[in-house]
């Protein structure tokens, strides 16, 4: 079978970006008075790496690019990669180099396509989850395998960036800023996402509740209650990104991102990214597939197929290569979304809030902007609130990183968020477990 993950770098399209709240000339550049004209924002994800380059004088985005994180050969989730890195220093250096080289490749590729020349870059800002940042900077990564450190601050500042300057073709005076994570299990990608969605903005009305869910291999959730930012992460599992799914693939050209019922019960219509020949299911396609089969009664609420559908699963599409949905695919999604449901419940519980107190529900990450809200609600992937309250973002982490890059204060912008944040560790919490099991069913999210 073809490897749907062997995908080259692809340019980010306008649709891939989250509109920035702040645009216009970059005060960062004005403040510096001089310095190199360009900057780069990097979202170093567990599965994907996204990079955009900016003209700091005009505050305009020059280009953007997205590719797979090559560290995936050492495991699709962060624990596998951390374990691999802890086996030997040699291995850890290799894993670090993979991410570093990928960033370098992307910068050079962007330069060759007429975006910022690497020598013109004056500043690079990098956000990511704590594991990705610590593996890149080769600092404190071994602490992340010890649960005592999950809620503590983890220093991910590299000792020396000269090697990156050389490898990435940067001028000596270019700044490379790794935006520090909040703690062991909450990265700076979450902070960037909260910034990009303006989650903590003071609202006109009294109800302040705003929820942010960043779906990914490592999903992060934040709840703003008007004064405090409650944050946690849930091992959502790679299913949201199509990984580990029989016909799964990342949201790129050839991926089915939307499925709608056709004329007859077993007939479906597919929307494919890039309008190309369909190759597999990305996260939002998987959600639609499961929701459609549930509605048709082909799939039961507990994740079992109706009698008569065997081990080979259900063919959503028959062609040169069938697009099938197997029991194990449904099972992966059930466990992934149950962790989110339980996480949302626990944050609401900590904040003393109810679902009805939420004014906004901001969805970012793996599903992009194509998630079918009704379908997502019906299987309990996202909270069951009025669709008017749900806002779909694409990659909010990159957008937040871009804001930091062009904002005058840079990383200081995050200081208020850091001081209002309260990390909630859900592992081993029996309330979380109860809610996890309750949320395994394919039904609206159980948050009471």
């Amino acid at each position: 079978m073809r490897n749907r993950y062997a995908q080259p770098w692809r340019p980010l399209s306008p649709d891939d970006y989250t509109p920035l709240i702040h645009t216009g000339p970059g005060p960062a550049y004005d403040a510096l008075q001089r310095g190199r004209a360009c900057g780069a924002a990097v979202d170093l994800g567990t599965s994907q790496i996204r990079i955009s380059t900016w003209d700091r004088r005009t505050g305009e985005r020059l280009a953007g690019i997205c590719g797979m994180n090559p560290q995936a050969v050492f495991g699709t989730d962060i624990l596998m990669r951390l374990t691999a890195a802890c086996r030997s220093e040699e291995r850890a250096r290799e894993i670090s180099r993979m991410a570093g080289n990928a960033i370098g490749d992307a910068l050079r590729l962007l330069a060759s396509r007429g975006s910022a020349g690497t020598g013109d870059i004056g500043q690079i800002m990098i956000v990511g989850n704590t594991a990705m940042l610590s593996l890149l900077s080769l600092k404190n990564y071994s602490l992340l395998l010890q649960p005592e450190y999950w809620s503590r601050e983890i220093d991910c500042r590299p000792e020396d960036t000269r090697q990156w300057h050389t490898d990435w073709g940067l001028a000596n005076d270019a700044a490379i800023d790794i935006i520090q994570p909040l703690g062991g299990f909450v990265g700076s990608d979450l902070l960037a996402g909260v910034l990009a969605t303006n989650l903590t903005c003071p609202a006109g009305d009294a109800a302040e509740g705003a929820l942010f869910i960043d779906f990914g291999s490592n999903s992060e959730i934040a709840l703003w209650d008007g004064a405090k930012l409650w944050v946690t992460s849930a091992a959502g599992g790679p299913a949201f990104e199509g990984r580990g799914i029989t016909c799964g693939m990342p949201a790129g050209p050839g991926a089915i991102y939307r499925i709608t019922p056709g004329h007859s019960p077993h007939d479906f219509a597919f929307d494919v990214i890039g309008g190309e020949e369909l190759q597999g299911l990305c996260g939002s396609g998987l959600v639609d597939g499961i929701a459609c089969l549930l509605k048709l009664g082909i799939l039961k609420k507990n994740g079992n197929f109706s009698p008569g559908i065997g081990k080979d699963g259900f063919s959503l599409f028959r062609g040169r290569e069938d697009i099938v949905l197997k029991k194990k695919d449904v099972d992966s999604m059930q466990r992934a979304k149950a962790a989110i449901g339980a996480g949302v419940f626990c944050l609401l519980e900590n904040a003393g809030m109810r679902l009805r107190d939420l004014r906004r529900v901001c969805i970012a990450g793996a599903f992009g902007k194509h998630l079918n809200i009704a379908n997502a609600c019906s299987i309990g992937l996202i909270p069951d609130v009025s669709p008017a309250k749900i806002e779909l973002y694409g990659n909010a982490a990159l957008a937040g990183c871009e804001l930091l890059l062009i904002a005058g204060e840079g990383a200081e912008t995050l200081a208020p968020l850091r001081s209002s944040a309260h990390m909630i560790n859900l592992s081993g919490d029996s309330l979380f477990e109860d809610k996890f099991i309750q949320n395994l069913y394919l039904q609206p999210m159980q948050t009471a």
Partner: protein, 222 residues
């Protein structure tokens, strides 16, 4: 049909559909009709759990969600029935259980605890991320014959602060003939001899097996 058989059939059907309310309804009706709580646990709940695990064992990873959901139903029923037993059940043995140091995956342990309780084994749950010292200290304090260590990651299964260290402490304190170690979790599924490498006395692949394996170990330490 034997009334107990029809109860089993109805309970099994509800369990297969992971229908919690349906399963509880079957049980409540049976108790109202005079079936003893003992029979519910030993002749309905335990056999149903066994046949469910058997039916999914071929394709275990495809049925994890269902496994969690059905185990939850079995635990709920068992916990409701045990206080209703006519005689105070005799304790088959005592076990301390927890996840290895560094390991926060507690759902497998949860299923095992449910199965052990249904077998009248007294369980002390030490929670997650349990240090080797604590495993041994608590086993001594509870007068437990078995230490059960769950590890869902290779590094917590094989690591120096997991089972290996518990074994070392038992030896140092002269306890290793009195207290046995059983391990479980994903890494042991992939390497069936791993339990020997980490110096455990046995491993169990699921909750039902864990019940049997632990009963056997308890007999050996008596």
């Amino acid at each position: 049909m034997d009334p107990l058989q029809s109860i089993m059939k109805a309970y099994n059907e509800a369990l297969f559909d992971t229908d919690r309310d349906g399963a509880l309804k079957v049980v409540h009706e049976a108790v109202a009709a005079g079936v003893t709580p003992e029979d519910i646990v030993f002749k309905v709940v335990l056999p149903a759990m066994e046949s469910m695990i058997k039916s999914i064992s071929e394709d275990f990873d495809a049925n994890l969600a269902q496994h969690f959901m059905t185990a939850q139903i079995a635990t709920e029923v068992t916990e409701e029935m045990i206080p209703k037993f006519r005689a105070v059940p005799s304790v088959a043995g005592r076990v301390v259980i927890g996840t290895a140091q560094g390991d926060m995956h507690s759902l497998g342990k949860r299923i095992v605890i449910g199965c052990l309780k249904a077998r009248m084994i007294e369980v002390t749950d030490l929670g997650v991320n349990v240090s080797p010292e604590r495993f041994v200290d608590e086993a001594v304090a509870c007068n437990a014959g078995v230490i059960a260590i769950s590890a869902m990651m290779v590094h917590t299964a094989r690591g120096e602060n997991g089972c290996l260290r518990v074994r070392q402490l038992l030896k140092e304190r002269g306890l290793d003939t009195r207290i046995k170690i059983v391990v479980g979790g994903a890494p042991y599924h992939f390497a069936h001899d791993l339990y020997k490498v980490v110096q455990a006395d046995a491993w169990a692949e699921d909750g039902v097996t864990a019940g049997r394996v632990i009963e056997d170990l308890i007999r050996r330490v008596r």
